[in-house]
């Protein structure tokens, strides 16, 4: 299992063809992510960060280059249920209760893992995200922030060692967003899964990540990689520190280079 959770991309490119016109979504991406790390992909819209996430997760196939998840292809890893996907909208099934939604990853694709959902474990996770009292609630009874907390808990509760998060907080208001980013931080520090986190929020990227990958658009490519060398567990006080502010302005600097004004 050790070597499986290691993500490696070599010279990955992706083009989209639409009515004879070719758009280059990703251009020769080189990237490697160590097991148990929290890595953020940050960049403006259209820089291909979501596409990159979907290539890693085996949902989209690259045109050239190689992607390895451990020793296998993303499609093979997907078959083995190595990925916990957290989409932009929480994607809770409205006809299932919160707990039943948490159990969904265990119910499908039973060929890969025979593992049963551990009810106690899932409830413990829900309690960690502050939803211990909503186990039997339906999605329509929850606010957007609560739904996304379930989405995150569902990913951590599944057996997947790699979590792929596609701007999970982008639909939330600023205050909820800040609160949830700390919740995510707490769970991640306990579970230590590998996370690839797509965002366009600089604060979030610095707060959560071990490494921030800055991407630029047209064509989507990696512009800079910044290792965030801040102590863990990270706290709210840390956000006020000079070091934190320094990382933020560093990322902002790289993002602004693209502006060409």
């Amino acid at each position: 299992m050790e070597s499986l959770s290691y993500i490696e991309l070599k010279q990955v490119s992706k083009q989209y063809r639409r009515r004879g016109q070719v758009t280059e979504a990703l251009h020769e991406i080189d990237l490697s992510i160590e097991k148990g790390k929290f890595v953020s992909l940050i960049g403006p819209s259209g820089c291909g960060k979501s596409t990159l996430l979907r290539i890693i997760g085996g949902l989209v196939e690259q045109n050239c280059g190689e992607v390895l998840i451990g020793r296998s292809s993303p499609q093979e890893a997907q078959k083995q249920k190595q990925f916990g996907f957290v989409p932009q909208s929480p994607a809770l099934f409205p006809w299932r209760t919160v707990l039943q939604n948490m159990q969904l990853p265990f119910e499908v694709n039973r060929k890969a893992t025979k593992q049963q959902a551990d009810r106690e474990e899932l409830i413990k996770l829900l309690e960690m995200v502050g939803l211990g009292g909503f186990i039997d609630s339906y999605a329509k009874e929850l606010s957007g922030g609560m739904q996304q907390r379930v989405g995150i808990a569902r990913a951590f509760g599944s057996s997947a060692p790699i979590l792929l998060m596609d701007e999970p907080f982008s639909a939330l208001d600023e205050i909820t967003r800040e609160k949830i980013s700390y919740l995510l931080l707490n769970i991640w520090e306990e579970y230590q899964k590998t996370v690839v986190f797509v965002t366009h929020n600089i604060r979030e990227a610095v707060l959560l990540s071990d490494e921030v990958i800055i991407m630029s658009p047209r064509p989507g490519r990696i512009q800079a990689k910044i290792t965030i060398d801040l102590p863990r567990p990270r706290t709210a006080e840390l956000e006020e520190s000079e070091q934190f502010q320094h990382y933020m302005s560093d990322i902002r600097y790289h993002l602004r280079k693209e502006w060409q004004i």
Partner: protein
């Protein structure tokens, strides 16, 4: 001392106004009293109109006479209603099942959809009245042709809505299932099927009363039993009172069946947005 939680303005109102407000709220929210009031009103206006304008009972019998006729020959109406009822319900279930199975196939295959949907459209645009006598010719005077007419009337709306329900899944849900490498069957059972339920119920609510119409049309074309037959016969003998009693029986059946579906819908779709508000 009516309620302690009332706000300032409510407390300033005289007791009488407060009472009428609560009465209104109770009345509006009740499922029983408003329709009853409407029917009572219709009954009274009808009765008075026949008396005041001295309408010939063969043209329009008084409401009281119809009620009396209904209760005097209660078992007669019930036995005929039962025939129409099971023809309609069997037809409804047949139409629903075929539509459901074809819906599954068409939702998964555009080729099948493009090929067979025109046939379904053809069946839908052909007036059912025109086809019913043909069914009598083919299948005789028994139950089968009536069931088939009811089934055909039910089929199309159910088919269209089930295809729509199976197809119109949330992209995020679909992608999430794909990220787990869920099989087509799993995606159908755990995503498409539950997703289609609101669509299926909304079609079923209209179709169930259409199926009653289908059974009656079938009976008109040739039958010895059923409320459609009662209407036909009483029309021939100018028994207007009997005709109206049969018509009301049909209306009650329609209301009953629609409400039954509505009740099941509320039980099954409690998670859905449209229920509860």
């Amino acid at each position: 001392m009516v309620n302690k939680v009332g706000n300032q303005t409510e407390r300033l109102q005289p007791a009488k106004a407060r009472f009428s407000k609560r009465l209104k709220r109770f009345y509006v929210k009740s499922a029983f009293w408003p329709p009853l009031a409407a029917f009572a009103g219709l009954f009274i206006v009808w009765e008075l109109a026949t008396i005041i304008f001295q309408i010939n009972p063969i043209t329009l019998p008084p409401a009281s006479a119809i009620t009396l006729e209904f209760f005097q020959s209660f078992s007669f109406y019930i036995s005929h209603a039962w025939v129409t009822f099971y023809e309609a319900v069997l037809g409804f279930m047949l139409g629903l099942s075929v539509a459901f199975i074809m819906g599954i196939m068409m939702a998964h295959s555009t080729v099948l959809e493009r090929t067979f949907l025109p046939l379904a459209v053809l069946a839908n645009v052909t007036p059912i009245m025109a086809v019913a006598p043909l069914f009598i010719l083919w299948f005789g005077f028994g139950t089968l042709p009536k069931v088939l007419v009811a089934a055909i009337i039910t089929f199309f709306p159910m088919l269209i809505n089930s295809i729509m329900g199976f197809r119109s899944i949330d992209d995020n849900h679909y992608e999430y299932m794909r990220s787990l490498h869920a099989s087509k069957a799993e995606i159908f059972l755990k995503l498409r099927l539950p997703n289609s339920l609101p669509y299926l119920f909304s079609a079923a609510k209209t179709c169930v009363s259409l199926s009653v119409m289908g059974a009656v049309v079938g009976e008109w074309s040739g039958s010895s039993r059923g409320l459609g037959n009662v209407i036909m016969m009483s029309s021939n003998y100018s028994q207007t009172t009997r005709m109206f009693a049969a018509i009301f029986m049909l209306a009650i059946m329609g209301i009953g069946l629609t409400n039954l579906i509505r009740y099941i819908e509320r039980k099954v779709l409690h998670w859905h947005m449209s229920v509860n508000n």
